[in-house]
Amino acid sequence: MELTEIFKHHILDHTYTAINIAGFTLPITKHLIMMWIAGLLLIFAIPILIKNSYFRSAIEAVVIFVRDEIVVSNMGEKHAKYTGYFCSLFFFILVCNLIGIVPFGATATGNISVTGALALSTFLFINFAGIKEHGLVGHVKSIAPQGIPWWLYPILFPIELLSYVTKTFALCIRLFANMIAGHFVLLSLIGMIFIFAKVSIVADLVVTVPFQIVMSVFIYLLEIFVAFLQAYIFTVLTAIFTGAVLNPH
């Protein structure tokens, strides 16, 4: 089997079926179903699980952490009402990342369209928060720093605008690459077992299989850690960028 074939089967998306709405053919793929499962889990399973008081304290601890460390410490006390968006972002990315580790699950955030959509929603949120705070003209004026000579404006304004787009694009690529790298390394490690089987089966079973299985367990643990870390980093960077827009000095 070819490397690109295995890559396509295990890491990229498969289309199961397609539905036709009003002339558009919308494909239903595995990553889409995983995103629906994550969404339904968050909408319907959490209110049922909250009835248990231990689980409620755990969720409360996480939400208070998001509000105090992420939202209030970066955007100020009076913008604590944005905690809803940041909590949704954090929990959605976390559940999407963790579903990819379960057998027969796929990482929905391992698709660049999904992370691109998340980064786009972050971009819209940053601009929305800036416009709501300073008004439309004030937000456009606050893109370039204040107090510089007038002839620097035409040079500095496109650069600052480009830095918005680059920061958002970097968010997208960071999440996508972190999620895909874990699965790709796992694929290579376990694939090595099958490659060595062509050379000699006995040496394969004795030497390669235990070693690769130990390495795979280690990579799984690393993937769980990276799932939590990347969800946190996405949320924190969104909060930092929004804070830089809301308090431009």
């Binding site: 460390e69 970097a170 690529i173 960071r174 690459a177 924190v236």
Partner: protein, 78 residues
């Protein structure tokens, strides 16, 4: 001639991956070193320093993954 292009792609991609690792490793190790030193000088600021370290390391790692994806594109040509 096709094999030449595929072979050159492999050489470029693997060398690139090694260089990405050198760059990212140097950057993140400098951050971790100053974080350890700052925590040793003032243990009360440990929590703040740890948060800053994680954020800075994630920014550098994001750029390293940019370069890694470019290397991956070098391998996957036919």
């Amino acid at each position: 001639m096709e094999n030449l292009y595929i072979g050159l792609g492999y050489i470029g991609a693997t060398l690139g991956a090694g260089l990405v690792l050198i760059g990212a490793g140097t950057g993140i190790s400098k951050i971790a070193a100053s974080a350890c030193e700052g925590t040793a000088r003032q243990p009360e600021a440990a929590q703040n320093i740890r948060t800053t370290m994680i954020i800075a390391a994630a920014l550098i790692e994001g750029l390293a993954f940019f370069a890694l994806i470019v290397c991956l594109l070098g391998v996957l040509n036919k």
